[in-house]
Symmetry: C2
DNA sequence: ATACTGACTGTTATCATATAACAATTCTGC
DNA sequence: GCAGAATTGTTATATGATAACAGTCAGTAT
């Protein structure tokens, strides 16, 4: 896996084709293991989501599909694929942007925590170990049972701050 | 201020009229100090947002306004009031619910971090000291400049878990 | 092979959330 | 009172998401 560890500087520097093929390979594995079908459509949507490290809106995906085919698919087509991919932990939804992004490590189920640059729009998935403990601690103290976590930190990445 | 410290059990137990009047009084103060106008409409929208500790959708607010008056206001009316209230730090937007909730401590500007019960739908604003340090630390390590934070933890509050 | 079954995808219509653009009104300082 | 700025009203539309039902396809049992 072409892991991006120093995420912030990465988008312009890495072999992105490798990211995509790794993500698709991992997806095959995950679906195989779960006994679910990664159909052509679902695979294609996942591939489109992975075209960049920027969250993509469902209608962006529809636009791309419309350009590739001659017929424009209807929204439910892509939303259902996205629902499936989310259920399998292959993509995360970014609530603050109404958008979707490929999961960096779908091998184990987890919540996505993100740093999102408002300039280059790249979203960096944080390792669970960074924010999760604070959340668990708070929840335990207050007797709250956590079911899902939305952690989306917006700002400027190193590169964009230095450029400005 | 009728502070709810053990937030999770609070919604059924506190003097909510006090919450509302405290919130409105605080809002007057905040606007006074900022030199901006808390108009009748803005005050009314804030009051509606504070009708409960549940995040309210903009269209919910429009419905209530329509019931109170005889004329239904158009969406921009309430969205503009909400924008103003957000700018002044009097309400927070909950991205994962497309909804708005009154800020528990508008005296100083801050990001809202929430625990949100999926059953009773009450949202509890966390003290900044709980999650913020973890976020700041991560951001600093990665050279990321934080501008806004979306932290929305969904699950079950104590009361609802015990009831189930 | 054939028919059955459930999963998947297509299609139409509609709902839900949010904003752009411009007009009318109201407030404030002069 | 008046001019300019801020606020609110109004119309239209953009954007994101889902309900409901019809058609198609893959895998299985016969």
């Amino acid at each position: 896996m072409n892991k991006i560890t120093s995420l912030v500087a990465a988008p312009c520097q890495h072999d992105h084709a490798q990211c995509v093929s790794d993500a698709l390979a991992a997806a095959e594995q995950v679906c195989e293991r779960a006994g679910v079908r990664l159909t052509t459509l679902r695979r294609r949507v996942l591939e489109l989501v992975w075209q960049s490290h920027r969250p993509m809106g469902a209608y962006d995906l529809l636009d791309i599909l419309a350009r590739e085919d001659d017929r424009r698919p209807a929204p439910p087509t892509v939303y259902r694929a996205l629902d499936f991919l989310q259920e399998q932990g292959l993509v995360h939804r970014i609530a603050s942007l109404n958008a979707f992004i490929g999961c960096a490590s779908p091998e184990h189920v987890h919540q996505g925590h993100f740093l999102i640059c408002r300039n280059c729009r790249v979203a960096f998935e944080l390792d669970q170990s960074l924010i999760q403990p604070a959340i668990s601690k708070v929840a335990e103290q207050l007797g709250f049972t956590v079911e899902s976590e939305t952690v989306e930190i917006a700002g400027l990445c190193t590169r964009c701050r230095e450029a400005a």
